[in-house]
């Protein structure tokens, strides 16, 4: 065990993978429960993609430096918390939008636009996470 490859370096990578899927699933669950739109489920898939990528890269400590662990933790937190925020936004907007669309069908386009703007926040997190992962 060297300073660069301590026994606990995979801990950070595993925590990154776990936080990627946990927080994005939390956001997606809130969004789906509140609004019932399919857009909220997409957020969980972003988290799933990053969690699968990180889980594939985690290795035993001798082949997995602490640096990589930090990078993977950062990637997981980036997609996780952006997914949580996007899921909350989709939940609140979708709840109001679905009620509004029932009264006035012309609101559908506006609702979809705002849902896409909320969704893009999660996509930004995914982009940053992929960029970090390739470091």
């Amino acid at each position: 065990m060297t300073d660069a490859n301590p026994i606990y370096s995979p801990f950070f990578g595993v925590m990154g993978a776990a936080s990627a899927i946990i927080f994005s699933a939390l956001g997606a669950a809130y969004g789906t429960a509140k609004s019932g739109t399919v857009m909220a489920g997409i957020i969980a898939i972003y988290g799933l993609v990053i969690a699968v990528l990180i889980a594939g890269a985690v290795d035993e400590p001798s082949k997995y430096p602490l640096y990589k662990g930090f990078i993977h933790l950062g990637a997981g937190l980036a997609v996780g918390f952006s997914g949580l925020a996007a899921g909350f936004a989709i939940g609140i907007v979708g709840d109001a939008g679905v009620r509004g669309t029932a009264q006035q069908p012309r609101l559908f386009v506006g609702m979809i636009l705002i849902l896409i703007f909320a969704e893009v926040l999660g996509l930004y997190g995914l982009i940053v996470a992929i960029y970090l992962y390739t470091k």
Partner: protein, 103 residues
């Protein structure tokens, strides 16, 4: 006699049930498409294109297949929203026709 006529669905009930079934089929299809398509795209692109055809290293093959999966997901979502928007418009027109006929 009375019971028999109660149990028989009227023609309007039957058309509503048929409409519900059709819209349920469309929604189910697109939901399954949105769930399954990215997973299939990820593993197909990774195994069939990046690893065997282009011989990329693991990191770049993972990245490119993840991007393809996300793009496929958004294409499916776009088709679903397009379909939902235009189907809703069509059914609203149908409803307007029905209302006119009733007047």
């Amino acid at each position: 006699m009375g019971k028999k006529s109660l149990n028989k669905p009227t023609s309007s009930q039957r058309t509503t049930a048929k409409k519900d079934y059709n819209s349920f089929k469309v929604v189910l299809f697109y939901c399954l498409l949105i769930i399954i398509l990215p997973v299939i795209t990820f593993f197909t692109v990774k195994n069939a294109i990046c690893d065997s055809l282009l011989n990329m290293n693991p990191i770049s093959s993972n990245i490119s297949s993840a991007m393809c999966a996300v793009i496929a997901l958004h294409v499916a979502l776009g088709i679903y929203i397009y379909r939902a928007y235009f189907a809703a418009e069509d059914s609203a027109d149908d409803q307007a026709d029905v209302d006119k006929k009733q007047d």
